[in-house]
């Protein structure tokens, strides 16, 4: 009965394809969730840095830095990248003394922010590349969610440690 083997073969192929599709859909979803978590962590670190900068500005450096910190805290999503870059520029313009607790808080917050930004960029890249695969596009997997977005800001690290070459 050659017909039976056709059936067995065909169902095997269908099974494998289905398994691959389920795995791929799971992968796209897993990477999307990861990128979203990273975005939440990045958001928290942006707020932390701006808050630390506002505290510092109130105690020591006055209006311009305070304004930049406020604008970064209140920025609408589409203006946020520019506002954060502006805050980075303002922070670089003032002379920070690492032995002062308020300055140290800003330096530490900036360092943590730099790490959060690096991780977020990597995870968004992974999520987007999985989402951009031809098969994923064709079957419109993940269509219920917007594409993960990069958060494009300058490196916020303030003070390069002496051991890290520029």
């Amino acid at each position: 009965m050659p017909g039976m083997w056709w059936v067995v073969g065909a169902s095997l192929v269908v099974g494998l394809v289905a398994a691959y599709l389920i795995w791929t859909a799971g992968r796209v979803e897993r990477l999307r969730v990861r990128a979203e978590s990273a975005a939440r962590a990045l958001d928290a670190h942006l707020l932390r840095r701006a808050a630390a900068a506002a505290v510092l500005a109130e105690r020591r450096y006055g209006v311009e830095l305070y304004a930049a910190a406020r604008i970064a805290l209140d920025a609408e999503p589409q203006e946020r990248e520019a506002a954060e870059n502006d805050l980075t520029r303002q922070l670089r313009a003032v002379r920070l003394d690492p032995t002062e607790p308020d300055c140290e808080a800003v330096i530490a917050a900036s360092r943590r922010l730099a790490l959060a930004r690096q991780v977020h960029t990597d995870l968004v890249r992974d999520a987007r590349s999985a989402r951009g695969r031809p098969l994923v596009r064709l079957l419109r997997m993940g269509r219920r969610h917007p594409w993960p977005r990069y958060f494009d800001i300058d490196d916020p690290t303030l003070e390069l440690p002496a051991d890290v070459p520029a």
Partner: protein, 386 residues
């Protein structure tokens, strides 16, 4: 924090990655964290208490040399069991792109994974062919660390991702407190005496030993009592054949030395010479020499210039130029004040490479990975960063 570290290579064989993992684990323990290291090793081999053996490693040719690794269903089961029992806050794997425990751990892990890349291997054909498979591994890594600028460059250009550059650490106390070998380094007066040191494979062209040999032979002719201390793998006859007969008794060969003897050797010389002609991505040995408080004379390679802070912490000479090296050695041996100035600056530089300092930077990456995995933000105090 509960930290699980995976080392891909067996502790039975010494190596850069193994040393890095052990020093990192000890530094993290010293900062009050709970650390478990999974590494291939026999059940009965003597191991530090924080190491969990994952069974014997088998030798396998890889990337031009023989790597001892563990891979397969048995190893895989052990990795899973270790992860399940450990309840780690973060998993830190080393060299996850080799077929090893590290790769198995990445594939079985669910939570935050930090990966450290040591080698600066350029894009190999194997790597290119396996890109699809490697992508699955890379996708499970949350944060990446590169130990050198070169390793980071490979990440950015070939693996399509960024990496945080955190240099190799050095346990400064181990080097600064080592006792010199008996009778060394000896006298170093104006115009006579002095001891030079070299550590590494003297037969390997890129280590630049012939340049030091030429400089030593010429300088020894005019400077009585000048001695050379060589350590590293190789055949003694092969080494002594390189020197004219009258100078042979002024050369001492230690052979392959242990970590402890390496520290003593570095403390036993007036000048440590690194005449390398290229291929160094970091220059670990220079940080070790600085930690030992020894003056360093090194070729003007990018990696060396970075470690020596552009020449403030050690004397640089044009790469491959034996005459320039000879002049630099002669000048430094006669100038103790200049040597003291360089080593004082070396102390400052090496403080940035001290393991507790480096481990704190690694902890910040752990925190970033944990935060990115579940979106919560970690307090400085909890992460032990303060």
């Amino acid at each position: 924090m509960r930290i699980g570290i995976v080392c891909p290579y067996s502790f039975d064989v010494p190596g850069g990655v193994q040393n890095h993992v052990m020093d990192l684990a000890e530094a993290l323990l010293g900062l009050g964290h709970e650390v478990s290291v999974l590494a291939p090793a026999d059940e009965d081999s003597p191991l530090p208490p924080y190491v969990v053996p994952a069974g014997r490693a088998v030798p396998l040719p890889y990337n031009g040399s023989v790597a001892r690794i563990a891979f397969g269903p048995v190893s895989s089961a052990r990795v899973r069991r270790w992860i399940a029992r450990g309840e780690f806050d973060v998993l830190h794997v080393h060299e996850p792109l080799t077929l090893s425990l590290s790769m198995l751990a990445v594939l079985s892990a669910k939570g935050p994974v930090v990966a450290t890349f040591h080698t600066a291997m350029t894009r190999s054909r194997v790597l290119a062919a396996a890109q699809g498979v490697l992508q699955i591994v890379l996708e499970r890594i949350t944060a990446r660390i590169a130990v050198s600028a070169l390793a980071r460059k490979v990440q950015v250009e070939h693996m399509d991702g960024g990496a945080v550059e955190i240099p190799n650490g050095v346990t400064v106390a181990k080097f600064s407190h080592a006792a010199p070998l008996p009778g060394w380094p000896g006298e170093c007066g104006p115009g006579e005496g002095g001891t030079l040191g070299f550590l590494g494979r003297f037969t390997e062209a890129r280590k630049g030993f012939p340049i030091l040999r030429d400089a030593f032979v010429e300088l020894a002719g005019t400077r009585p009592g000048l001695r050379l201390l060589v350590a590293g793998p190789g055949d003694p006859d092969d080494l002594f054949d390189r020197f004219p007969a009258p100078l042979r008794d002024r050369v001492t060969f230690l052979g392959l030395v242990s970590e402890a003897d390496k520290a003593r050797m570095l403390r036993s010389v007036h000048l440590y010479v690194a005449p390398n002609t290229g291929g160094e991505s970091f220059g670990m040995i220079l940080t070790e020499a600085l930690a030992a408080g020894t003056t360093v004379v090194a070729s003007d390679l990018d990696a060396f210039r970075r470690v020596l802070d552009g020449g403030r912490a050690g004397q640089l000479f044009p790469t491959g130029d034996a005459a320039a090296l000879r002049a630099a050695l002669a000048a430094l041996l006669d100038d103790p004040a200049r040597r003291a100035e360089l080593t004082a600056c070396g102390d400052q530089v090496v403080a940035h490479f001290d393991w507790p300092v480096v481990a704190r930077r690694v902890l910040e990456v752990y925190a970033a990975a944990i935060e990115a995995t579940d979106g919560r933000v970690i307090d400085q105090e909890w992460a032990g960063l303060g």
